[in-house]
Symmetry: C2
Subunit: 336 residues, 2 copies
Amino acid sequence: MVTIKDVAKAANVSVTVVSKTLNGYSDVNEDTRRKVLKVAEELKYTPNMLAKNLKQKVTKSIALIFSNFERANGKDGVLFQIMSGIYAAAVDFKYEVVIYTRSLSEQQNISYWKFCKDHKIAGAVVTGLKTTDPYFQEIVNSDFPCVVLDTDLASEHTGSVSTDNVGAAKVAVEFLISKNHRKIGMINGHEFAVVSRQRLEGYKAALSEQDIDFDPTIVVNSDYSEESAYELADSYLQEHRDVTAIFFASDLMAIGFMNRCREIGVRIPEDISILGFDDIVLSSYTTPKLSTVRQNFHKLAYQACEQVIHILEKEEKGRHIMMPFKIVDRETIKEL
Amino acid sequence: MVTIKDVAKAANVSVTVVSKTLNGYSDVNEDTRRKVLKVAEELKYTPNMLAKNLKQKVTKSIALIFSNFERANGKDGVLFQIMSGIYAAAVDFKYEVVIYTRSLSEQQNISYWKFCKDHKIAGAVVTGLKTTDPYFQEIVNSDFPCVVLDTDLASEHTGSVSTDNVGAAKVAVEFLISKNHRKIGMINGHEFAVVSRQRLEGYKAALSEQDIDFDPTIVVNSDYSEESAYELADSYLQEHRDVTAIFFASDLMAIGFMNRCREIGVRIPEDISILGFDDIVLSSYTTPKLSTVRQNFHKLAYQACEQVIHILEKEEKGRHIMMPFKIVDRETIKEL
DNA sequence: ACGATAATCGAAAACGTTTTCGAACGAAGG
DNA sequence: CCTTCGTTCGAAAACGTTTTCGATTATCGT
C-alpha cells in the first residue's frame, strides 16, 4: 500500500504539500505541483478513503434504505429499477451506494438518526416507507439529508419524489370514461398508504368532473399484492355485475384479478375492462397484455438520488419532485 | 458524536480498557467490564467504523460486482434475486454490501486488485463475468477473497458457485425424451459462456445415453436475450420441421421464441414443445405457462457470499459449490 | 516476610489523512 | 538598509480507534 508519505518521500517534499496539491490548494508552486503529480502517478498512489473520511468526518456514500427484501419480493421488479436509478445517479456524482434493509424491529431498536451516523453515510434515499413506520416521523424532522420515494414530504433536509399519482389516476379513469365506461370500479392499495389516497383522489376527481356519481361500494382496499386481488375477485365480480371496468392501483393486483377471471370464465376485455398501474415487466407478458399507466421508476430513483446529493453538497432545501406518467393501452380495455 | 474517550472519562477508566471490554479482551476485571458496558449503553456509544477500519486495515463490507445495470436489464429478475441472496448472507454475518458495476472500459482503466484495495472491500462476489472480460484472468490468480457466480473456478482465494448446469441440462432433455421426444433442438446462449458449454454438454450426454444421434444442425447459439430468440424463430422453424421439442438455455429466449410462435400460428405445445432454463418470474405468467428447470438464484448467491466470508475469515480455500436444480413442468411440454 | 506469579490497567504509538499556523525566503517600497 | 508583504513550504496536531508492552497491584506458596 503506497501512502501519501511514500510519494512525499519520492518527490522530496513534505506530506503536507502532497496533500495540498492533491486537493487543489493554491499555496503550492507550479513546479512542485507537477513533480508531485508525476510521482503520484508513477507510484499509482490512491488516497486511503478511510483515513480521509475519518479526518473530514464525511463519506461519499449514499444509502438505499427499504423495509426488507422479502416484502419487496421482486416479482414486479420495481425495486430493481429503483436500485438501478439510484446507482446511475451515484456514479454520475461519484458516490458509492450501500444498501440497507431495516425491519420493523430494527427500526425500533436503533433510531434512524443514529443509524445514519453510525454507518457514516452522507445521505439516504428511502423507499417502501409506510406512514406508520417508526422511521417516518424521525425522517421528516431530521437534519439528515434524505429523500423518500412515493410521498410528498419536503423540509429543510428531506425531500421526496413520486409520480403524479392523483394526476395519473385522474387521466387513467378519464381514459376509461372516454371509452364510454360509466360504472368504473377501483381496487386500491393499503388505505393508509399515501399513494393509495392520492390515487383515490384522482379517481374521484375524474368522476366528478364528468358528472358521474361516486359509488363507494365499488372501490375496495386491498394490499397491492397479486394474491389479495386474486382472492377478492369472486365476491367483487358477484356483487358488482354492473361495473364495466376496474381501475387497479397496481399491476400486480390487476394480474391477480385477471388470473381469477380466466379461471372462472369471465373474459377480458369482453366482459370487463382492466386498467392497471405501474407498468411492471409482467404486464407486457400476460394474455391479454395489460393496459396500464406507466411509472418510470428508474428516472424517479435517479432524481431522488440526485436530490439528496444536491441537498448535501449544495445545501439545497428539500422539495417534492413530481414525475410524469404515461398511460399505455394494450389489450385489456374495450371500447363500449 | 460520543467517542470512546467520552465513555472512558465517564467510566473513570482509560480508553484502553474501554476498547478492550468492547472487543472482548480477557484482561479486564468483571466489575469494570460491567461498568464500562453500562456507561457505553447510557451514552449510546457506537464505535466509529472509519477509525476502527483505518486501524485494522480491514472493513466489513463485501462488494457485489457485475458488468452493468443496463445489460442486466432486470427483465428476468435474476440479478435482483442474487442481490437479495447476497444481502441476506451479509446481514447474517454482519457485513455490509456495496454494489459496483465495472464496465469494460472501467475494467481496462484500473485493475481488479487495485480497485478492491482502493475501495477497502473485504471480499467480492462477482457475477456476469465473461471469460473474455479483463477481470477474469486477474481474478483467478488474485489473492483477494472472491467468489464468482456461474463458473467453476477454484483457487487459493477465489471460489465459485453455480447450478449443476450439465446435470440440469441432462435431466432436462432426459425429461423431454421420457415424453417420447426424439428430435430435440437446442437454442443455446453465447458460445464462449461457460454455462452455455456446460448446458450443451448435458444435452449431448442425455442424447448419447439414450442412443439418439447428436445433430449439430439443430442446436444454434444465440445470446440469451428474448429478442434474439424471437428473431431466430422463423428460420429455425422453417428449416427444422422435424424437431418436436426445443430446449432453451434461458427462459427469456424461450419466451421470445414463443411470442413469435404465437404470431405465426404455431401452437405450443401442440405443434412444438418448449423447455426453458432458469424459472424466472415471467415464466409463470406466460400463456401457456413455461415449463423450465429452476435455478435458485437466491440460495446460490447466499452460498457465494457465505463462501467469501469463510475464505476471508476462516482462511478457507476457495472451492466450487454446485447447487441443485429442479425441473418444473408447466404447460409447454406435450407427451407424444 | 519474601519473591514469584497472575490479574488488571494505562501510556503511547500507530493507522493515513487534512489543516492550521508559523517559518523561511525573496522581492518590493521607502 | 530596513520593513513589509506575498509566496511557498513543513511541523505538528487532530480524527477515533486498536494494540503492544510495561507498570501496578493482589495473591500465594514457602
